[in-house]
């Protein structure tokens, strides 16, 4: 396979912009109408994902290790969408047809052979990863919503019983799809450490115009069944030194992964000192403060500081989270876990770094794009 030739060919095709994925999916759906059902009604985001993945594959084509990891993840990830081995041939045929269509006279038998070989390689890595994963995980978990508590006007807490039981590390997230919004998956962090009854807690904030969050925060969610993807994410204590004290900074529902970590720490025989900052716009949106303060009263190693950004009447700390956190201390001896709005996380990480905290002690994960 001539990588340089493939890259040139891809660059030529990519000049046609959104037309390319549009053609690809239409071709795929005309030749295989049954596949249409695996996708959401609006394909706008989907087309973006496809192009992103192709760009990544083409640019990493000579980096076997990284590309292999990416494709394996992609293959595992596609199991929950209902992709099966048979679909890969259909996708390959439509991909080839699309490349041919936009290549025009530049399309030669050699180029066709190169693309065919490249796609076969891609498909084999993805299907192999999916096949191995079949021995470990179901493609997705059923999740019965056993309770849905509205904690603030725009925040609900869901309790979900997964079937079969779901193993994860505190701080990880799962993709979730609800019956009211089929084929739209959004990532939510699990807000508790694993419990004996296996229940998972999710904190959902209503995003203006958010298709999925609107459905999830509805009281009608109780009793329904959602689908959950496999646990993902690296915002876990594995990334921290075992004996170092912790700084947890949570903006709104960014509390979820940090609360799971906090619960995990509390079950240790000798927990480190933990300072948790929990920020919200108004006091009413500090939706989980009661249970946090109860924990703090029980555990001398835990300090909880609620922070409100827009409430002049609030008795506690007021201001932006990065300001309040950095006003207190420079925290440089601790491991910091930050979660919440991506702007807050970026700002806090930068301020902590400039106050002397080493980069490898600052742990973040950006799921901002998944909030809608």
């Amino acid at each position: 396979v001539d990588i340089v030739r493939l890259r040139e060919s891809f660059a030529r095709v990519a000049m046609h912009g959104d037309e390319v994925p549009l053609f690809f999916y239409s071709d795929l759906f005309i030749k295989n109408p049954e596949v249409r059902d695996l996708f959401p009604i609006s394909m706008e985001a989907q087309r973006g994902h496809l192009v992103e993945a192709l760009v990544k594959i083409v640019s990493q084509a000579d980096n076997a290790e990284e590309l292999g990891a990416f494709l394996s993840g992609l293959g595992r990830d596609h199991r929950k969408f209902g992709a099966v081995a048979g679909h890969y041939d259909a996708v390959g045929a439509s991909l080839l047809a699309t490349l041919e269509h936009f290549s025009g006279p530049a399309w030669t038998p050699e180029l066709a052979a190169d693309w065919t070989a490249a796609y076969q390689l891609i498909a084999s890595v993805m299907t192999e990863a999916a096949r191995v994963d079949e021995n470990v995980h179901p493609p997705w978990w059923k999740g019965k919503v056993v309770a849905c508590e509205q904690r603030a006007f725009n925040i609900s807490v869901l309790f979900v019983r997964p079937e079969p039981s779901l193993d994860y590390r505190p701080g990880q997230s799962v993709a979730m799809e609800c019956p009211a919004r089929p084929r739209l998956w959004r990532y939510y962090s699990i807000a508790n450490a694993p419990r004996p009854d296996g229940l998972l807690e999710f904190h959902v904030r209503l995003v203006d115009g958010g298709a999925v969050s609107l459905a999830l925060t509805s009281a009608a969610m109780a009793g329904t069944e959602v689908r959950l993807g496999p646990p993902v994410g690296v915002l876990t204590l594995d990334a921290a030194a075992a004996d170092r004290d912790l700084l947890l900074v949570a903006g709104s529902t960014g509390l979820a992964p940090l609360k799971a970590i906090l619960e995990q720490v509390s079950s240790r025989s000798r927990p480190p000192r933990v300072h948790l900052f929990f920020g919200a716009r108004t006091a009413g949106e500090l939706y989980d403060l009661d249970s946090l303060e109860k924990m703090a009263a029980q555990h001398p190693w835990l300090t909880v500081t609620p922070v409100v950004s827009e409430g002049p009447k609030f008795a506690g700390e007021t201001g932006s989270l990065p300001d309040v956190v950095c006003r207190k201390d420079n925290w440089s001896g601790r491991d910091a876990f930050l979660a919440g709005g991506s702007e807050m996380v970026r700002e806090t990480a930068a301020r902590l770094a400039s106050a002397g905290m080493p980069q490898d002690q600052i742990h973040t994960e950006d799921f901002g794009w998944s909030e809608l």
């Binding site: 549009l22 071709d27 009604i41 203006d208 115009g209 609107l214």
Partner: protein
């Protein structure tokens, strides 16, 4: 190709332009609410742009097909006049793509609309909460003022020339009692009126929501634009 465009039912029609109404502004001012009119103008403008674009692309398509027919007639080839065999698939792909783009736009429009509605609701909620806070401050303030008055009156009632210590104590207790009683009465009356008002508002809202859900489940066309105005 034309079926894709003629299927678009949820658009501004000339009839709607004739019957559209806007809410009147608050008492004391004349005319319509400016935001509602602005919002409508934005929709009308988008609709015009859409129509012009469609007209242009339809015109191009007509020209293209005309040329083909003329060329095919000159060749004496009557089979597959409009599209060649391989062309047919590409054409089908184009049609499906156009349909998909239309669907995407509807979803995006609906999303944007829902986003606006939730944002408005959130802002209105903030307003209501703020008003409620002010209202409760006012209630407390008034209850306090009236109670103080009552206490002063009780103190001034029939003051003996030189009250004994026990009489003074009794008087102070009377004054405090009058204060608390009045404070409680005023506060309770206001609170009850206010709470009942809020409950009426919620009931009204629930009735309207139930009615609109009923309308939707009956399959009647929902006047989308009348909801926001």
């Amino acid at each position: 190709v034309t079926t894709v465009w003629s299927d678009e039912t949820d658009r501004i029609t000339p009839e709607e332009l004739q019957i559209v109404t806007f809410p009147m502004t608050r008492l004391g001012r004349r005319g319509y609410e400016e935001d509602a009119v602005q919002e409508f103008l934005v929709l009308v403008h988008a609709e015009f742009v859409r129509l012009m674009n469609e007209r242009a692309s339809l015109w191009q398509e007509v020209q293209r097909l005309r040329k083909r027919i003329v060329a095919a007639q000159a060749d004496g080839d009557s089979s597959g006049v409009l599209f060649g065999e391989a062309d047919a698939h590409v054409h089908a792909v184009r049609i499906l793509s156009a349909a998909q783009v239309t669907a995407d736009r509807y979803v995006a429009d609906a999303q944007a609309y829902s986003s606006r509605v939730t944002e408005e609701a959130r802002l209105r909620r903030d307003d209501i909460v703020r008003e409620a806070h002010q209202h409760s401050d006012m209630i407390l303030e008034e209850a306090h003022a009236r109670a103080r008055e009552a206490a002063v009156t009780a103190l001034n009632e029939a003051v003996p020339q030189s009250p004994s210590p026990s009489e003074r104590e009794w008087q102070a207790a009377q004054a405090e009692l009058a204060y608390l009683r009045t404070y409680g009465d005023v506060y309770r009356a206001h609170m009850r009126a206010y709470t009942e008002g809020v409950l009426r508002g919620i009931e009204d809202w629930e009735n309207r929501q139930a009615a609109s859900l009923h309308e939707v489940s009956d399959g009647q066309p929902v006047a989308r634009r009348s909801i926001s105005w």
